[in-house]
Every structure is written in structure tokens, then in C-alpha cells.
Symmetry: C2
Subunit: 130 residues, 2 copies
DNA sequence: TCTCCGAATAGATGACTGTCAACATAGACG
DNA sequence: CGTCTATGTTGACAGTCATCTATTCGGAGA
């Protein structure tokens, strides 16, 4: 019957989070949800923040470590961290004077799996350039 | 004449494009470049468009196949396709009356690799200790 | 308690984005 | 050649975003 094979992914199916988008069309709700996460990544400062946090010693970094490498003000960094946090990409905790941030690997893994192509490991951009 | 036909992305370091961001901090230029691609993905309509194209029979789809499932007008679809094309995520070609779009797997693979976490792939060779 | 410092919030502003209606263009078919 | 259909482009408008300055909050230490 109709509930057998849904042509869309999304909904409450746990597999919805991990199936590559090249396999089957994305559902509307899933697309809205995923777009929020990609939107959080769609800023150079946030991308660098995320990689700075992830690659920092111990897998976490305090804000004081993050404001230095950027040309923007501290409130702006704080704002970007809030965006990353609300997108579910990082976690944070206050420990005494400083606030520490760390990456939530599951969220990155979900997006990574979504973008995976069947021939990721076999395909090289050859001649396709037009 | 450019003998080297490698589509260089970002810097001259080939590893800059494919190394997971959790390994080492992203450079500023690479972050700007990558943010453009994520920005192209940061819209529900474009995400669904991409998955529709990728999962379509033959790996490509004409615009006439893409305007149906959405509530937005055809010019808006055309606009989103242009964004995806300029981000280097899809290619397009006119064949008679219709224009066909297809996904460029290398671009998706690049982003997928960037988001990969050590936990995601249990195939971390030896560099786990940090 | 008072003061200092790290971090978050509030409000404002300029820039960008998504969307549509209207128009332009490219090819097919009589 | 003329017309119809399928796409792309332009211009305009509303909404959102990134960034700043000024202020507030939370904890540490004298």
C-alpha cells in the first residue's frame, strides 16, 4: 500500500538523516531542517570558528581563544557562536570565568552523509569542466 | 595555454579542499570559498532541487521536471538553479527545447569530506592521538 | 562588598536574499 | 515567416543577516 515505500525522505524515519540526497528526493520538511544547518555553515567566520573549535587542543575552546584570529568584534563572535549553537552544531558550557565550546560530531556526520555521492571515492573531476 | 587542466579550488594546496575541518583550522580564503557553496545549499528549495536532479533518472533533469513539485514560480526556480550553477554544484546544457541540469559529484564530495569527523569514519589510520 | 574581566544581549543600520510580475530570448513547428 | 512553448533575465519589494556600539550579566579576587 501507500505506506510501504515513500518516495521522499524526511519525516520521522531515523534513516532520513543519513541517506545521501542523490539517492532519493528530499522531503520538504527535511529540506527546511537541513537548510537551517547549512545556513549556519554559510558564513566564512562561522566556518573558521567551527574548524578552530574542532581542531583545538582537547576538542574544545574558550571564547577567549576564538576572538583573536578574527577582525570582527567580540559581540559578533558571540553572535556567530550562538548561531552555531542554535543550529545544533556546537555545544557550550561555562566553567568559571570562561565559556567553552565544542563541536557535536553527529551533526557534522549527518550533513557529511547527506552530501555523499555513490562514486565519491571513484570520481575525479575529469573533463567535466565546461 | 593552460596545460594544467586541474580546476584549482581555493589555494594551491590540494589538501586544502579535502581535509576535514576538524583536523586543522580553515584558512580565510578557503573559508570564503566554501561558505559560498554552503550558502547555495542554505535554502530548502535549492536542497530539494539538488536532490531532485541527482536522484532523477539518468542523473539529469530538465527544468520542466523541476517546476512541478514546488509552490514557487518558474522564474524563481530558474533563479535557484542559477545559484546552484554559479556555486559549481550543478552543470547545465540546452538540448533543443529543454535545458537539462545535472549534479557535479566532485563538489558534493568536497563538502562531504570537509564535514567528515574522525568518529564518522572508523577508518582513522593512526593520527587519532592529539 | 566592590571592582575588574570575560562573555552575552539589545538596538540600530547597511547589505544581501528570496520572491514575483513583466519582459526577452531560443528553438520547434506549421 | 509567424507563432507558440520553454527558459532565462530584469527590476522591484519585503524580509533576513552580519556587523557595530553601548550596555548588562556572571563570576573571581582583593
Amino acid at each position: 500500500m501507500s505506506n510501504l515505500e515513500l518516495p521522499v525522505i524526511g519525516q520521522d524515519d531515523p534513516a532520513a538523516c543519513c541517506s545521501p540526497m542523490v539517492r532519493e528526493p528530499l522531503g520538504e520538511e527535511a529540506a527546511v531542517d537541513l537548510a537551517k544547518m547549512f545556513k549556519a555553515l554559510a558564513d566564512p567566520v562561522r566556518l573558521r570558528l567551527l574548524s578552530l573549535i574542532a581542531s583545538h587542543e582537547g576538542g574544545e575552546a574558550c571564547v577567549c581563544d576564538l576572538t583573536g584570529p578574527f577582525d570582527v568584534s567580540q559581540p559578533t563572535i558571540s553572535h556567530h557562536l550562538k548561531v552555531l549553537r542554535e543550529a545544533g552544531l556546537v555545544g557550550s558550557e561555562r566553567r568559571g570565568t570562561w565559556v567553552y565550546y565544542w563541536v557535536l560530531p553527529a551533526a557534522l556526520a549527518r550533513l557529511s552523509a547527506l552530501l555523499q555521492t555513490p562514486d565519491t571515492t571513484a570520481t575525479v573531476p575529469s573533463g567535466g569542466a565546461r
